[in-house]
């Protein structure tokens, strides 16, 4: 085995020239009038390596400029060099809190191109796991938004109650996060014995947890004082920026891709309510996610009642070659609208994949949203938008 690198192929640029870029600074003008504050990239409130260059006049924000890319892994370039099963391993890590939900649109797009349809049982299990990921993400949000606003206790309750769902996901897929469970044509394994009853019990705990959060956090006067009328997103502006998911529904826009988009998974067979709130402030976003958590738990119970028996994998060739074509699948992920535009040229891997991630658009509204607010409100707004760095930076 040779330990020396093979000679570089003929390219115009010498890739070794880029090693110094790790030290590159983002150019920021120094202003002597207002104070420039760097929130991040290491900061407890920014959910990861997001940097907000904020220009302050006393305690008021004059302008805010998010600097992203500290976690840019180059997914769209990486997937051009990988086969479809390899890509499924990667895309788990885009939105790492609800990792199963990231696999679903991509696998769906590949299945469209191949003309394969997964069997009904597999679709049900996929939907249940997606909704469980949604519950896991939202329960954590309900807790840690309290933490960002100052209450220490709800964060622990959030983590504790999320454990129930993570245990279920671990029992079904083998890992708590990044399950890599979805396959083109179905899913990897069937559910273990007793999982359905465990899930029913866990959903009851989720309902109880939501009640606790409603009392402890949403019902707290100080929390309301900190979140009402803070960070109002007007619905038209939100849509123009591409804000999606619970953020847009909290501004009163009645749009949910599970109900209104192209039918995917088993959502057409389910009976669920889409929650909206007219205010559009941070409290509204909290409230909408609280209600959606309960709704997801109801949906899971429905699906457990309706789950059909049958195979979990359709007939799929051993080496997956996806025929030529383009496909776009968008889904209602916990963070918002996620979509994959897959362009295939008949090889074992895609030619181009455009990954539309929700948090990228949600965060793009920050320069507009943060003008004129106080510094503590910046934290509240960041917490209420609920982005994940992997989703922004891909």
């Amino acid at each position: 085995m040779s330990t020396t690198n093979p000679p570089l192929p003929e390219f115009d640029i010498d890739p070794r020239a880029f090693r110094h870029l790790a030290d590159a600074q983002v150019g920021v003008e120094l202003d002597t009038g207002d104070m420039i504050l760097n929130l991040g990239p290491q900061h407890p409130a920014t959910h990861g390596t997001l940097r907000l260059v904020v220009r302050l006049d006393g305690e008021r924000v004059v302008s805010a400029d998010p600097v992203i890319g500290y976690m840019h892994r180059g997914y769209e370039k990486l997937v051009e060099f990988r086969t479809y099963p390899q890509i499924t391993t990667l895309i788990n890590r885009i939105d790492w809190l609800s990792s199963f939900a990231n696999e679903v649109p991509f696998i769906d797009a590949a299945e469209h191109l191949m003309g394969i349809e997964a069997p009904p049982r597999a679709q049900y299990i996929r939907t249940i796991l997606t909704e469980l990921s949604r519950i896991a993400t939202f329960v954590l949000f309900l807790g840690e938004m309290g933490l960002q606003v100052g209450a220490l206790t709800p964060a622990f309750y959030g983590f504790r109650d999320r454990e129930h769902v993570l245990n279920l996901i671990e029992a079904a897929t083998g890992v708590r996060r990044h399950p890599h469970f979805d396959r083109i044509g179905g899913i990897k394994d069937d559910l273990p014995w007793g999982w359905i009853n465990e899930t029913r019990t866990a959903m009851k705990t989720v309902f109880d947890a939501c009640d606790v959060f409603e009392d402890l956090v949403a019902g707290n006067e100080i929390f309301e004082a900190r979140t009402r009328s803070i960070g109002i997103i007007p619905p038209e502006l939100g849509a123009a920026y591409g804000v999606s998911g619970s953020n847009l529904r909290a501004s009163g826009v009645d749009w949910d891709l599970r109900r209104d988009g192209r039918p995917y998974l088993v959502y057409p067979d389910l009976d669920f309510k889409v929650w909206t709130h007219p205010d559009g402030d941070s409290f509204a976003r909290y409230w909408v996610r609280l209600q959606e958590t309960r709704e997801s738990a109801r949906m899971v119970v429905q699906m457990l009642d309706q789950m059909p028996a049958g195979p979990i994998m359709a007939k799929v060739p051993r080496i997956i070659k996806v025929p030529e074509g383009e496909s776009w699948v968008e889904t209602e992920n916990p963070l918002g609208q996620m979509g994959y535009y897959v362009i295939s040229k008949g090889a074992t891997g895609p030619f181009r994949v455009k990954i539309r991630s929700a948090s990228f658009s949600n965060v793009s509204i920050l320069p507009w949203l943060l003008r004129g607010v106080f510094v503590p409100d910046v934290i509240t707004i960041l917490a209420s938008l609920y982005f994940i760095l992997g989703d922004i930076d891909r």
Binding site: L37, I222, D377
Partner: protein
Amino acid sequence: MISLGSVHGLLALDIGWGTTLAIKTVIILAIVPLTALVLGYVFLLKMMSHMQSRLGPMDPGGFHGWFQLVGDGIKFIQKEDITPAQADKRVFALAPAVVVISTFLVFLVIPAGPDIIVKDLNVGVFYALAVSSLSVIGVLMAGWASANKFSLLGALRAAAQLIAYELPLLLAVVGVVIQAGTMSLQGIVAFQSTGSIFGWNGIGFPLILTQFIGFALFLVASQAELTQTPFDMPVAESELVAGYMVEYTGFRFLFFFIGEFGTAFAFSAIAATIYLGGWALPASWGIPLGVMRFLGPFVLFAKVMGVAFLMFWVRFTYPRLREDQLQALAWKFLIPIGLLNILLTGVFKVAI
């Protein structure tokens, strides 16, 4: 004013004021960190953990991790002393000292028994509040000298908040002083212990019964004075990451920590003393003074734990207020209530 003994009576020895002073100094220097430690362990580590459905430290020391804070103290002491390069070195070094000194000074007037007090000033409660506000200077020094924008933000917020909440604190105490007729803490304790409610002296006359508004006011204001949630804007952990203390490490940070929890104990002790009767049990129970000299500190400790429980319980439950909301609460809500309290107290004192 009723006197309850003298220091010479305590020791029955003729030891001179210098030695007395030395003994008292040593005791105070030992007690303040100890109280900080006890309070920190019981409430910050154990009570908070149990409220958050977790256990807290369990290993250090064997029994429910009682050694944790002592171990933390040892860890802090042996840490490297880092001063930021652009910091103003002398001010940076002095700031924690100022904060801790103000804590020590408050302990001078807290009575723990009939004679167990460093000096029973006859402006006791006034002195205690005045001296506790010295910590504002320390906070400002810390924030400015750290050469860090986050620290500066925290220090400025702290200064505004601490000054604003001095007033409700004082107004609450004025109600007590009007009723008790004295500012000396021993006098207030004596008043409550030997007092009677409409002729019945079964439990003495704890001032909380008539000064409940003042008690609530005092608790809220002392929560703000200690920069504890819901008033912890200066040390907003998820925003400023320890605010004005962020550049302090090791021993200096330990000073701030002792200052914070020592002051918590001090304020709880003052609240217990002026509202709940302090170290004294009702005089009608007939417990002789000699026994009280032994029992007093324990009684005070129990009452302090009760008050501190309330303070820390609120700390771990509520989110934090924004500074403008905080200021509005102080100036527009608490101060008018304090003034109303004084008015009512005065009226009832004269009328009844």
